[in-house]
């Protein structure tokens, strides 16, 4: 994979991916447990992360999204089926497919800068070039002044940005973000969405963004994968054909965005109802919230 470096509007160096990769899950099933106790968490799941596109995966809590993230990262192997990167089957973790975890996973014993340099150091690839790139990335995510702070000294949003920088320095072909903004307060969350959106638009790196927040998914994504309840499968694919670069406020009032949202809601609602019948608490909450929403919009 190669990157082309040019100057962004704010003068920062931007590495733009010139030949983005694509990743495919082909008929993937993942069972947890042994023998008769084995239960499928992912069942016959197929989808493609198109090259240079941001795909958002949205589904009810506990439906197996993190398991899919682990399969893509290579931390788990499919029981059946394949994960293919540019047509090649993958089975091992690699810096080509990096996962940003649900909660912050910065090493608390390393400073922000050392955390960003962690990947190159581990591969013995640290050199003048990567060091300069680390400084640039810190600048880019607004953490230059915090380069020598430890993670515990950073706010939640700063930690998430440090983590983005730590992943980006490895030039992954595919980035998976597993509910990266969960747990941030509402204000920080919106800012992080704008931030991440800008980073993605600059870099054009094939990405999978997992979330339970439909507004977040529509604002960020080129495509939505709506998942079924456990075991996870793709229930519906919706293209988000909103123009880029996107602006949070514009998207909020956009007619098209609201159409997509209705469409996604209907599918999610059906899925939630199904698991509601099965006694799922999260689904019950969802149905309740949905009903309230319908009442206010009607």
């Amino acid at each position: 994979m190669s990157t082309q470096v040019d100057r962004g509007t704010d003068g920062a160096r931007i590495a733009r991916v010139t030949d983005p990769s694509s990743l495919e899950l082909r008929g993937v099933t993942k069972l947890f447990g042994e023998g008769p106790l084995a239960t499928p968490v992912v069942q016959d799941c197929s989808f493609t992360l198109e090259s240079g596109k941001l795909t958002a995966m949205i589904g009810p809590s506990g439906c197996g999204k993190s398991t899919i993230a682990f399969l893509v990262a290579g931390f788990e192997r499919p029981t059946r089926g394949e994960v293919l990167l540019d047509g090649q089957a993958v089975s091992q973790p690699s810096h080509e497919r990096l996962l940003i975890f649900q909660e912050t996973a910065l090493m608390p014993w390393l400073t922000t800068y050392e955390n960003v340099m962690f990947g190159p150091k581990m591969r013995r690839a640290a050199n003048k070039d990567t060091k300069r790139r680390a400084e640039e990335l810190l600048e880019r995510v607004g953490l230059r002044e915090f380069r020598d702070k430890y993670p515990l000294q950073l706010s939640g949003g700063m930690q998430r940005r440090a983590e983005l920088a730590r992943a980006l320095i490895n030039d992954p072909k595919v980035m998976v973000l597993d509910e990266p903004f969960r747990g941030l307060d509402a204000m920080t969350r919106v800012l992080m969405q704008e931030y991440y959106s800008a980073l993605f638009e600059e870099g054009g790196r094939t990405s999978l963004f997992i979330t339970t927040d439909i507004d977040e998914a529509i604002f960020l994504a080129d495509r939505l994968l709506i998942m079924t309840n456990l075991p996870a499968r793709v229930r519906e694919v919706i293209d988000v054909d909103l123009p880029r670069p996107r602006d949070k406020e514009e998207v909020l009032v956009s007619e098209r965005a609201n159409e997509i949202k209705e469409q996604a809601f209907d599918v999610l609602h059906e899925e939630a109802l199904k698991s509601f019948a099965g006694g799922n608490k999260a689904a019950a909450d969802f149905v309740e919230a949905y009903t309230r929403r319908q009442e206010t919009t009607d």
Partner: protein, 329 residues
């Protein structure tokens, strides 16, 4: 507790400079927001306030501890305690009736007088030297052997299956029960006492190291694996630093145990010679008791308290040095 240090320090700084006292988290987060917004419009992020660090912070905290209301109350408590002790023990001399039980103890004034006599003797200092030496050697060997041993069991399932059962059988044996064997086994009395001291810290250090090594957040390991860490770098850059806090806890607890053990070992073994006030602080206490010198017993006890306190401060300082991220200054 350590985590509190910095925000407190900075908040003080802020108020001193006339900035309205903002909560540190708030300050940091506002900077974060600016980071997000400004990076888009192309301005640089503002520099945060220079934090109070190192000695300046420590000196300020010390001054506050000594002169602040908490410090004053603490001093008052100590003075009141000593005064009460003096009155209770001297009541028979001053008034007549002896206070039951505690009246037989030596008065603080007698203890201080005895202390002045003892510090003039070489034996008293040689006791300090001997006990400190036994504790430090035993403790150092416990760390030196215990940490690698614990890490081995934490990182290798085979090693754990092999080594853990015998370890678990030996662990509950009180170190003092080892004294007879230790005396038989080791050529010198000094080595026997040091060995028993070693045992006191060893099991604690190993248990904490194993526990810490096994509880490492799985995501650190996974992240390092996906970024291409080999076995050695995984150990050196992830497992070891992630286990350090537990090792430090083991060290602090283990140091406390070595002092308990050294005193008992000195009692049993007879101190290894060295005169009436020599032979170790534990021996000093026992020997003074047998000679009916109760004031010297109390001097020995207080010496043990101070020695234990000093050594736990040393351990904490060492652990702060190895874990700068825990200091956050």
């Amino acid at each position: 507790m350590e985590m509190e240090t910095r925000p407190e320090g900075q908040a003080t700084e802020a108020t001193e400079q006339g900035v309205p006292g903002t909560d540190q988290r708030e300050v940091a987060r506002t900077d974060g927001y600016q980071g997000a917004r400004e990076a888009r419009v192309g301005q640089s992020v503002q520099a945060p306030m220079a934090p109070v660090t190192g000695w300046a912070l420590r000196r300020r905290k010390l001054r506050k501890a000594l002169t602040g209301p908490a410090g004053r109350r603490g001093a008052l408590g100590v003075v009141a305690f000593i005064a009460l002790w003096q009155v209770v023990t001297k009541l028979d001399e001053w008034v007549g009736p002896q206070v039951p039980l505690v009246g037989a103890l030596p008065a603080p004034s007698d203890v201080v007088l005895r202390l002045f006599e003892l510090v003039a003797t070489g034996g008293f200092w040689s006791s300090w030297y001997l006990s400190f030496g036994r504790v430090m050697w035993g403790f150092a060997f416990a760390m030196l052997v215990g940490i690698p041993f614990g890490l081995l069991m934490a990182t290798s399932a085979t090693a754990k299956r092999l080594l853990f059962p015998p370890f678990e059988v030996l662990r509950p044996i009180p170190p003092l029960a080892w004294v007879p064997l230790a005396i038989l086994f080791w050529p010198t009395q000094e080595l026997s006492i040091t060995f028993v001291t070693f045992l006191g810290a060893f099991f604690t250090v190993v248990m904490n190291t194993v526990g810490g090594g096994e509880q490492i957040d799985r995501r650190y390991i996974l992240a390092a694996r996906s970024m291409g860490a080999n076995k050695w770098r995984m150990f050196r850059r992830v497992v070891l630093p992630a286990t350090l806090p537990s090792i430090a806890t083991g060290a602090v607890v283990g140091m406390g145990i070595t002092w308990e053990v050294v005193v008992a070992a000195e009692l049993i073994s007879g101190g290894g010679g060295g005169g009436s006030a020599g032979g170790g602080l534990g021996f000093l206490v026992w020997n003074s008791y047998q000679g009916g010198d109760i004031a010297a017993v109390v001097v020995g006890m207080i010496s043990l308290g101070i020695a234990g306190y000093i050594s736990s401060i040393l351990v904490r300082m060492a652990s702060n040095l190895t874990m700068p991220w825990k200091r956050l200054a």
